[in-house]
Amino acid sequence: MSEIMIKVENLGKKFTIGQKQPYYSLRDKIGNSFKKKEKSGDFWALKDINFEVKKGEVLGIIGPNGAGKSTLLKILSRITPPSTGRALIQGKVASLLEIGAGFHPELTGRENIYLSGAVLGMTRQEIKEKFDKIVEFSEISQFVDTPVKRYSSGMYVRLAFSVAAHLEPDVLIIDEVLAVGDANFQKKCLGRVGEVSREDGRTVLLVSHNMHSILSLSSRCLFISNGKLMKVGDPEEVIKAYRKSASGSSSGEKTLAKAAHYGDGSARFVKINIKNKSGKPIFVTGDDIDCEVTIKANQDISNANVAIVISDEREIRLIDANTLIKGYGLALKQGQTAKVVFSLKNVRLRPGNYIVAVWMGAYASHEIDAVKYADSFEVEARREDILYTAPYPGLYSCEFDYKVEKD
């Protein structure tokens, strides 16, 4: 039986809320000691967390924003102490909670490799030995003596990750850092993480919002919500549970009040309703699907591109329908609501579960509102598909005719 590398027992972290200032001043402290103490509320960022991780496992950690994932990683990395319970960890731990920890813009790439390496826990000797490999992996060898403030963000990320990728800890803790950089380099990093656990038998804890990387990398998965451990086990099962809770019921009209929103909030998606032509949330391959979103403007907005994105369970984007393609930008007055209906015709999605994300922005970099898991729906197989579908997978079910010509 594999050895247990991490054992977490009844772990909890409490924050005291109700403090107006992020930090105090000595003046206030002295002043307040004459006043009555104000009662402030406690907020449990994590509560009663129990789990174990064995040697060589990659444990994926998922959950909505503010669920306590990062707090958990910070406790296990010893950055912040727990309030209750305890965690046992074996061996050398390295954590990558931020890409480029310790980097200084004035210093050159070479200098930053030493600096960041040391901050992450490497000795000078180790860095010296791995220096060439790090530079090679980062693909920036000709700029190694240029101050990093002159680097493009892509180069910066590549160099930063390369340093981290050459750590040799027994336990590696990673938070979202793979979500940066260009697609090719991301792939390389993911490959590296996989390599680290498979070949070197290292244990990896990985927080990600990208279900695809969780599915492809982790052997077990943990779902945290509101500081509580909701489910732990097989990644596919756990991700399913997460999606279910994130999107609520998978049928009919759904309010987005409780969903995780991104963007500046000058307008918000308030409702989403996905239905077939007869108004029901039942779909088979080839149906026409209506996606109805209700938007409420909190401020005046103009020229907003409204989009819906449909992805499969591995989060591969399949459909992106948006008003910009049709040359339309939505304008709303403060307080006004609007309903945008996307009529998708002959949607030939294969049977399975699909996720719907909604997005609205004035231009690419100006995000007004986005909900990653706004809704989900299931496409059922048609009769003829049921007969023949099994051995022929594929993302898309193309409609086709065929002809046979024999000599």
Partner: protein, 283 residues
């Protein structure tokens, strides 16, 4: 998971639990991270000299200007005695140690805030951050020391060469003092952000309460001990007496400064380790 068959061998694990009482300083871990200490010192030095256009010149210029002003006003106009040493040499020797002390203290107390982004994202013994910034200004100290040698040549002043051997010991005591106070202030400053303003005022006052512009011999004997509660007073007085005047080492003053510096270190360490684990939460 109540099965007893996979009972853990606790000794193999590091236990992360809520901090209770006094946390022991982990010297073994500190030693494991010694390279980080060196690399942070090197980072501080190289950033300092890269960011300012004048670089090294600034480290020399600042004490020379201060010395000139002090010489004109306190030496010439106010005619403050200087134990028969040319006033510029006399005051510069004092400033040498004082400048080290004040810049070590100021930068150490700001150090946790400056390196907030690393502290919140990576674990390492936090003590390394203030200690490394307290050690960094030693480089300026040695640069200024060269200036002092030049001044001695200009004023045709022959120092006691045996006194040169005492200088490293004195700067070590100054480093222990400023590291200890720096640890205390760094932890306090992370928690209460107005500490830095108080510190600026404190350093200004201390410049006059420490025998820098005047000799310790000016203080009536029965009050001298008050002055020597500040280890920097002892350090500066010893440097002048031995290096400049060729007097024998006053072991009493040396021991007092050393013991006091250790006391400051002890206070700094114990307050720092009490706050250390929560630093990422308050920053």
């Amino acid at each position: 998971m109540k099965s007893t068959k996979n009972k853990l061998d606790i000794k193999k694990y590091r236990i992360i639990s809520p901090p209770k009482g006094l946390v022991k300083i982990d010297f073994k871990e500190f030693w494991e991270y010694r390279d980080l200490l060196l690399i942070l010192i090197w980072r501080n030095i190289s950033i300092r000299y890269k960011q300012t256009a004048v670089g090294v010149a600034w480290a020399l210029f600042q004490p020379v200007v201060t010395m000139t002003i002090f010489t004109v006003f306190f030496g010439r106009l106010a005619r403050i005695p200087s134990d028969n040493i040319p006033y510029p040499v006399f005051v510069f020797t004092g400033l040498l140690f004082w400048n080290y002390f004040s810049s070590a203290l100021t930068s150490a107390s700001d150090s946790l805030i400056e390196d907030e982004s690393i502290i919140k994202k990576v674990y390492f013994p936090r003590i390394i951050v203030p200690i490394s910034t307290a050690i960094t200004p030693i480089i300026d100290f040695f640069l200024s020391f060269l200036v002092l040698l030049v001044l001695m040549v200009i004023f045709q002043f022959t120092p006691n060469f045996l006194g040169l051997l005492l200088v490293p010991l004195l700067i070590i005591i100054a480093t222990i003092t400023s590291s200890g106070l720096g640890l205390f202030l760094a932890a306090l400053n992370a928690k209460y952000r107005d500490v830095r303003y108080v510190l600026g005022f404190f350093i200004q006052i201390m410049l006059f309460v420490t025998p820098i512009i005047y000799p310790a011999s000016l203080i009536p004997a029965q009050y001298k001990w008050i002055i020597f509660l500040n280890p920097m007073s002892g350090i500066i007085t010893l440097a002048r007496d031995v290096l400049l005047n060729g007097k024998p080492v006053d072991w009493g003053v040396l021991m007092m400064s050393f013991v006091l510096s250790l006391l400051f270190m002890l206070i700094g360490l114990s307050y720092f380790r009490k706050t250390e684990r929560f630093i990422a939460d308050v920053l």
